[in-house]
Amino acid sequence: MSQQEIDQLVDQDYKYGFVTDIESDTLPPGLNEDVIREISTRKGEPEWLLEWRLEAYAKWLKMTPPDWAHVDYPPIDFQSISYFSAPKKQGDGPQSLDEVDPALIETYNKLGIPLEEQKMLAGVAVDAVFDSVSVVTTFKEKLHEAGVVFCPLSEAVHSHPELVKKFLGAVVPQNDNYYAALNSAVFSDGSFVYIPKGVRCPMELSTYFRINQQNTGQFERTLIVAEEGSYVSYLEGCTAPQRDENQLHAAVVELVAETDAEIKYSTVQNWFAGDDEGKGGIYNFVTKRGECRGDRSKISWTQLETGSSITWKYPSCVLIGADSVGEFYSVAVAGKKQQADTGTKMIHIGPRTRSTIISKGISTARGQNAYRGLVKVLPGAVDARNFTQCDSLLIGDQCGAHTFPYVEAEEPSAQLEHEATTSKVSDDQLFYLRTRGMTEEDALNMVVNGFCKEVFQKLPMEFAVEAEALLGITLEGAVG
């Protein structure tokens, strides 16, 4: 082979090397500008979005991963990750539930999930006559009548480009943090929700109904805009355990609430937590932030975090409008060798802004649970108020609970309250309930559910019931 030929070959590799097979559904591992171009091309995105991604990528390159969280994991090799997987086609997954891990099926049964839904969750190819298809259709018609837009972000890029362009990155800037920057560069898909002025969304919006988007992937991106006087309740996630090939998950969620608007965002996160040694579990590095832009607007985050081997997540509220309200209700469970560093940030800017933080951390086995919260009151946030309550519950003596509350008050009229408790599930409590006929496990569940009550009450009814069941399953084997 001549030198010229070799040069050509090298050139060619350089130019196309990362993708040779157009038919392939997944890009080979690695991240560079060409990968980002390829993602954008495959998704058929407009030029401006590609530019936006590249801009984010350039910023990401100059950043370093955060190291302040109370979590411990080996450095991530970002070049070993594949950044694009095409949505799975029918027939790719298992052909029937018989091919699915029996442990997973057992858990579905415990949660009382109907057979058809089990198939969907496990990625089994489902028939076109699947009942819920008609449910989804009715659902979409109703939303359409109300003028609500609820679709995959990738679809909104084409159907509502002006809105996406206006709000994408408006709350979480590209370079907000390392993982947000990465997400901005390579985000896969997610939800787009737009509630027009004065509209009360006629139903809870659940990612569950977005079934055409099974494989939203590891870099999910969601944008919710509530115009003046509107209301929406959004449910994310699923109580059923979700397995995923991708270890690193870095999602971004942005919320915008205009004057008198209210957004209620509920999450149940149950990603694979790894084995007892923490192996194979998901790293969940999420950036969630909402802006209460208008007066009297309100944003509530409610979350139940049971899965993932590492959770790094701080759903936050920026309270700009006068009298706006931010809320954070959280239950985070760390068992096995799980590590959770989660909390919230409440930034008070407008006068008389109010925020409430109720955080319940449960640690079992060798789990490490940290609450990290910031309450910041800027000058001019006259009479701003915050109430923070952090409760930790320990089960067993090898786990840990940590609280890192930060307060920065620059407005003398602000009133901030902080309460924190740490308790153990007492032998007295368990014995009392057992003498009433409950097994040790049922007794523990009852105590733990009682501990979480204030948060579960904030979840939509059906979700709350599932959340309790999920918590029970999560804590199986925590005593005895």
């Binding site: 057992r434 006929g437 409950m438 009682g450």
Partner: protein, 247 residues
């Protein structure tokens, strides 16, 4: 019904029960009286299965089975009930939720069908009436912020709902005012049945004026020092425990 033979138990290195012998026949009410620290509460706790007590010798036969081998919940399923001297608070758990879970757990193991919400509510309202408790009780967290009297009434309410075969009532009269004492006493009397036995642990005679026991035993220093009928309680009230212990 219950046969306690040479029962020895300790906490850590400290022996508390030093050879208890007691026969309780079906339908009988036995009162265990004694000074503080005599081992009264230990006895009821050991019978209910609290694991901080270690049984070092002896046996307890309940309806033909070795009671000490059973887990606390298995004892409950078998019809043993312990009314706590200090009922435990369960924050965030509504009383009605505990009551319903308890009733259905026990029913399940007795081969009875689970009570539906409506059926349960009907039953619990009946029992609330007996205990002169307001329905608001059901919606308060278990024992949280309850007064001493409310806690004890709540215990007897649970006993009424669970319909045990053997009821162990540990200092159920402590912390009660006169009216509450009467209500609790009547609640216990109402449960008197030829199929049910009761072991009443108490420091004072006053509850025994309302609930008349068939037998009274005096427990001191981990042993039963004296047994008799209900008149023994009156004698204790007059003479105090010191006289008995000396005898």
């Amino acid at each position: 019904m219950l046969s306690i033979r040479n029962l020895h138990a300790r906490v850590g290195d400290k022996p508390i029960l030093k050879g208890i012998n007691l026969e309780i026949k079906t339908g009988e009410i036995h009162a265990i009286m004694g000074p503080n620290g005599s081992g009264k509460s230990t006895l009821s706790s050991v019978l209910a299965g609290r694991d901080e007590y270690e049984v070092t010798d002896g046996e307890v036969i309940y309806q033909g089975q070795n009671l000490l081998e059973l887990e606390p919940e298995e004892r409950a399923w078998a019809g043993v009930f312990l009314s706590f001297q200090y009922p435990v608070e369960i924050p965030g758990v509504k009383n009605i939720y505990l009551l319903k879970a308890a009733v259905n757990a026990v029913r399940e193991h007795r081969g009875q069908p689970e009570l539906k919400a409506g059926e349960f509510l009907k039953l619990v309202r009946e029992k609330l009436k007996v205990m002169q408790m307001d329905e608001a009780f059901l919606h308060r967290n278990v024992n949280e912020g309850f007064s001493g009297g409310e806690k004890k009434r709540n215990e007897i309410l649970q006993m009424q709902l669970l319909e045990p075969t053997l009821a162990l009532l540990d200092e159920t009269d402590s912390g009660l005012d006169v009216d509450a004492l009467r209500i609790v006493g009547e609640g216990i009397n109402q449960m008197r049945s030829p199929d049910r036995s009761v072991l009443l642990v108490t420091h004072y005679q006053r509850l025994l004026d309302v609930v008349k026991p068939d037998f009274v035993h005096v427990l001191a220093q981990g042993e039963i020092k004296l047994s008799g009928d209900h008149t023994l309680a009156q004698r204790l009230e007059r003479e105090g425990y010191e006289g008995i212990e000396a005898a």
